[in-house]
Symmetry: C2
Subunit: 183 residues, 2 copies
């Protein structure tokens, strides 16, 4: 197993465990067991739990935004492309192991005590905001709606996590459609 594969296995295992049970509820030895990578190697690649977590979040940020963009840009453009974001949220919320937004969860758990986590979470949310702003601008809509549109998505993530239902995505889509229809 070379360095690249060890990294992948570590990030896969750590991300699933951290996301599924919370960060402080997972010990480094559980990451070792789930990944099959020895503790020694783990600490060579990621010198602390915090750095492992940040690496997980950064990879997740990339994958999440890529998947979202692929979905949105596979359909028609304009306003429908904005609304497709909420359709994608519905699919995400429906995944069996969905447990909310990993960034919101991480920020709530460690944002106050781990500055690196706070920075990473802010970067992710900022990137999402910028992406939505781009879609809205491409649809020729007023930039004033971007804020509420993002809030609908953020609210849907937490509501879906807490209620255990994907339905908030539908409600967010309805709200977004109304906001975009009003002129």
């Amino acid at each position: 197993m070379d360095r690249a594969e060890a990294e992948v296995r570590l990030l896969d295992a750590a991300e699933e465990l951290f996301y599924g049970r919370g960060i402080q509820a997972v010990g480094m030895d559980q990451v070792r067991a789930a990944s099959g990578v020895s503790l020694k190697r783990l600490y060579q690649l990621y010198p602390s739990k915090s750095e492992l977590l940040v690496a997980c979040l950064e990879r997740r940020d990339l994958r999440w935004r890529t998947r979202l963009a692929e979905y949105a840009e596979s359909g028609p453009g304009g306003v429908e492309r904005v609304l497709a974001v909420y359709d994608w949220l519905y699919e995400w919320f429906s995944e069996p192991d969905f447990r909310g937004c990993a960034f919101i969860n991480s920020f709530g758990e460690l944002g106050a005590v781990d500055p690196a986590v706070a920075v990473t979470v802010r970067a992710h949310k900022s990137a999402f905001h910028d992406y939505m702003a781009g879609l809205v601008a491409a649809a020729g809509e007023s930039g004033q709606t971007v804020g509420p549109l993002v809030l609908l998505a953020e609210g849907a993530m937490t509501a879906a996590a807490i209620s255990g239902s994907p339905e908030p995505a539908r409600q967010a889509r309805q709200g977004a459609a109304q906001l975009l229809a009003a002129r």
Copy 2:
């Protein structure tokens, strides 16, 4: 110091610490030091950290909803009463020690491993949803908007926490006003 005062001091101290730094980042000994209540008494009143946390959340739920209702119902009725919710959020977000919604944070940290926490958080969010539904109905608006209106508020809470700015409350209010104007 009688039992009632010990409870108040414990809940005050624990709530501030848990909310400000995260739950697992705070030890029971810090709660003892901040409250001035001995460890023995603490465990007589709340036999475990989880029960102390749930008691904090339940009291916070009551106080939070009471403060919100007092604010909303101190102004005019109708649609403006719905919008007043977002004005209140702005004031809340502007408090110096604001760190997001304690229920969302607690759920993210412990929802997956502590069922009592999950139940308490769901109850709080459900109560907030019902309260908003009541305001919307009293304003003579369609019940269909309740979902998006709640999502705007939830999204504003997390966005304000992560960005460290109260501005999301303004954006949520704008979005809500548009949703209520559209018919």
